[in-house]
């Protein structure tokens, strides 16, 4: 995968993510409707690849305005990842040379890998995660489960223990699978399924779209590091 193709795929996936987020805001914030309509138009231009240089700058300015409006990210990690992807796309277009373009895009790939590894590490060093208690808490009383029936999963400690260790090991191992194209592809499919499940049971749909927008960067980095030599 060439750098240009990976950037184009990132732009398309980021555009889809931004359209999805903005359409939801059209219903919620009547006063901000014009702003989100403008963002949808810009995101569509990003998807079709028209004037991407200017479009990405305008999208970044809008993102800063939205950060001020909500005094921080509206949807925590999902908004932060979207913003990170957008910043890296902007940096790619602003970079003075191919070398710096690669640095900007590699930074996105490294942050994506870190997003899994650090999440796994902080769980591994927490005894509540190792014995399944933390995940039980998530289901039992956190604000995330989408229904009361999903809360009842907290009554299955053996299942939660297995789930906890599956999550910890998967998050820790994912960055190491970058060594091979095939293992990385498999890992990213599993990661996308993981985000899909999170979206279903915790309603974190924006995370799914935001994270997969960063996947082309790591696919490109894998080829850049281990194939092009």
């Amino acid at each position: 995968m060439t750098l240009e193709l990976a950037i184009r795929l990132t732009e398309i996936l980021l555009g889809i993510s931004l359209v999805q987020q903005s359409i939801e805001h059209l219903q919620l914030h009547k006063l901000l409707r014009v702003l989100y309509l403008f963002r949808i138009i810009l995101a569509l231009l990003l998807i079709i690849g028209l004037q991407v240089y200017w479009v990405s700058i305008f999208l970044l300015l809008l993102a800063v305005f939205i950060l001020h409006r909500f005094q921080g990210p509206y949807n925590g990690g999902a908004d932060r990842m979207s913003l990170l992807v957008l910043c890296c796309v902007c940096l790619y277009y602003f970079a003075p040379s191919k070398y710096w373009q690669e640095i900007a895009f590699a930074y996105l790939a490294i942050q994506l890998l870190l997003s899994y590894f650090i999440s796994g590490w902080v769980k591994l060093i927490n005894s509540d995660w190792r014995n399944g208690r933390a995940l039980r808490d998530v289901f039992q009383f956190s604000a995330y489960p989408v229904s009361e029936s999903i809360r009842t999963w907290s009554e299955s400690p053996r299942l939660l223990f297995l789930m906890s260790w599956s999550i910890i090991l998967f998050e820790l191992l994912l960055p190491m699978l970058i060594m091979s194209e095939i293992t990385l592809a498999i890992a990213l499919v599993i990661a996308a399924c993981f985000h899909f499940v999170n979206a279903c049971i915790f309603g974190l749909n924006r995370f799914f779209w935001a994270w997969i927008a960063a996947y082309p960067s790591v696919l490109w980095l894998q080829l850049r590091l281990f194939t092009n030599s």
Partner: protein
């Protein structure tokens, strides 16, 4: 400019410590009051979760989930209020409660109410026991007039 950098920095240098510890979890509760001195408050949970969500609904929510995402934002506002009370977070929560009141979406429908107040109840586990602590009471807010359909 400093504020912009402060807002942008966590996206450019993220911590990625998702669910490292499961801290106190907020519930937003509201009370409808007849007058400012009404002490007969009965607290109701704001947007209680559904009993069951079907797989079909989950699939739809992959692309269209505005109310849940708004509720997650309000959870963030509640957590921010616990850390440091700000007018912005209080205002955002109140704005959503009043929007639901106007749309007849609140579970309590006390017709003679003139004021509304919300509070934040935090649930946390201490060893094997659950603790419920109320950490914040909002200012009272006068309720707007609602339109009623003929049906």
């Amino acid at each position: 400019m400093l504020k912009t950098i402060k807002l942008l920095l966590p996206a450019l240098l993220p911590s990625w410590r998702f669910f490292d510890t499961i801290g106190p979890s907020p519930r937003i509760q509201y009370a409808l009051l007849r007058s400012e001195n009404d002490s007969s408050q009965q607290w109701y949970e704001f947007r209680p979760r559904s009993k069951h969500v079907s797989f079909g609904q989950m699939l739809t929510r992959m692309v269209w989930n505005p109310n849940w995402n708004e509720s997650l934002f309000l959870t963030s506002c509640a957590e921010r209020l616990r850390e440091n009370a700000t007018f912005h977070s209080e205002n955002e929560i109140m704005r959503c409660i009043i929007a639901d009141f106007k749309a007849h979406l609140l579970s309590s429908n006390q017709e003679d109410a003139n004021f509304i107040q919300f509070r934040l109840l935090f649930i946390e586990r201490q060893k094997n026991k659950f603790e419920h602590n109320v950490t914040f009471y909002s200012q009272l807010k006068e309720l707007p007039k609602r339109e009623f359909s003929d049906s």
